[in-house]
Symmetry: C2
Subunit: 251 residues, 2 copies
């Protein structure tokens, strides 16, 4: 089994590649099992088995009588669920809040780390957003974020006060594919400590992250500070419920 993959395993890989190479947008109709059986010279049950595998990993969706479709919003919902501070505060029985400290448009040359992460030319316009997220009026998160402006030209303070995820997906029509995070510990500077309502030099969790659109195009770069007395990341190795990323939550 490990030596040479069975035909159906190879077919799964081929379909996965096809799904990516053709840039099927969420909601688009994918190949039918009869089309796959013909095109890859295999039987329908084998085609269905390969499709079923992609359905169970969430990439596709069967609609009985209609066909097989590329999944849209479910993956997006999972992502929003993973990152939403509002949800996490509420889950902890606290009232979430947001203070917008700054929202500016600047050029990438003014923010070299973000420019690099976003692969932006030096004249490329970026939005710089600085916010504090609160739970029961207590600051928990100090967020600084650069966003590629051309993807969300209509950004303003009102949108900055709400869910960025909502704004990007519904107002800008973006499809966000994920984010790569690095989790570190830092001593809060006096300014950072002031923003978070803690003593200077207190240890905080720092998440440096880049977020991506479908197709791997970077959308945002963030350096976000979390009060560690109020927030932690939970990570499960092994276990019966299958692998998943570490998740932040209120302590």
């Amino acid at each position: 089994m490990a030596k040479s993959a069975s035909f159906h395993e190879q077919l799964i890989e081929k379909l996965r590649k096809l799904l990516r190479s053709r840039q099927f947008v969420p909601g688009a109709k994918f190949l039918t099992e009869r089309e796959i059986a013909e095109r890859f010279d295999t039987s329908r049950p084998t085609a269905n088995k390969a499709l079923s595998s992609l359905v169970s990993t969430g990439l596709l969706e069967f609609r009985h009588g209609a066909g097989t479709f590329v999944r849209g919003s479910v993956l997006d919902y999972d992502l929003q669920h993973l990152v939403s501070f509002t949800e996490k505060a509420k889950a902890a029985g606290k009232k979430p809040g947001t203070q917008v400290i700054a929202l500016q448009k600047l050029s990438a040359a003014e923010a070299p780390a973000a420019a690099q992460a976003l692969k932006a030319a030096s004249s490329e316009p970026l939005f710089y957003l600085e916010r504090i997220r609160l739970a029961d009026a207590q600051p928990v998160i100090y967020e600084r974020r650069h966003v590629t402006a051309r993807f969300c030209a209509g950004m303003n303070k009102a949108y900055a006060k709400g869910s960025l995820y909502d704004f990007w997906t519904t107002k800008c029509g973006l499809t966000i594919s994920g984010a790569d995070e690095s989790i570190r510990a830092v001593n809060a500077s006096p300014a950072q400590a002031s923003a978070l309502g803690i003593k200077p030099n207190t240890a905080c969790l720092l998440v440096i992250a880049t977020g991506f659109l479908e197709g791997g195009v970077p959308l945002w770069y963030e350096e976000t500070l979390y009060r560690s007395d109020a927030y932690e990341f939970r990570n499960q190795l092994g276990g019966v419920s299958g692998p998943k990323p570490a998740q932040g939550r209120m302590r």
Copy 2:
């Protein structure tokens, strides 16, 4: 599709439950596709499709001509890979090292946090292990760990200097199913700072974790401090390669 699960999806669930309810040990033979087809009154391709799903999630393994088996060591390998500092140091081109600071046997009453996490009666014997992990002779990790002694009675300083994972799995015959980690940031105390070779009060990553054996029995409780200038946790949200836990690595 979402309203009522198809038969094959229900069958997957039934088989998953069967797999757990009967306590199939890794390596044991599971039901054949013909047995499943007969027992659940379905066709062989449908039985095979359900089994294939459990194979692709890693719970089972097909052996052509021999049958379907419960997976053993592959999950274990993944776990070791996830936690092995030795591997991570080497991957960063550094020479790993370990200093055993303390190895004692004590009763659970002497370590209330560990006793609680390990669900140990106050008279239950625990091992207390304190180590420093080094990369190129520089301290990176300060590890304090309590282990339920009855699972690894032969623990000694020689074993404590090497891979605990190896010792537990090969010498004690344990099957480790995973660990639950909480990732926080703390200011290093003078003793902790001294152990890690950093200035007191420097921000460090603190991982508080409980590790489990197959069946959910707790094996160890740890409070492990990481120098954040040398080590970070990487976490991927979304992305094309599927979900996985956050992973520590050298910076």
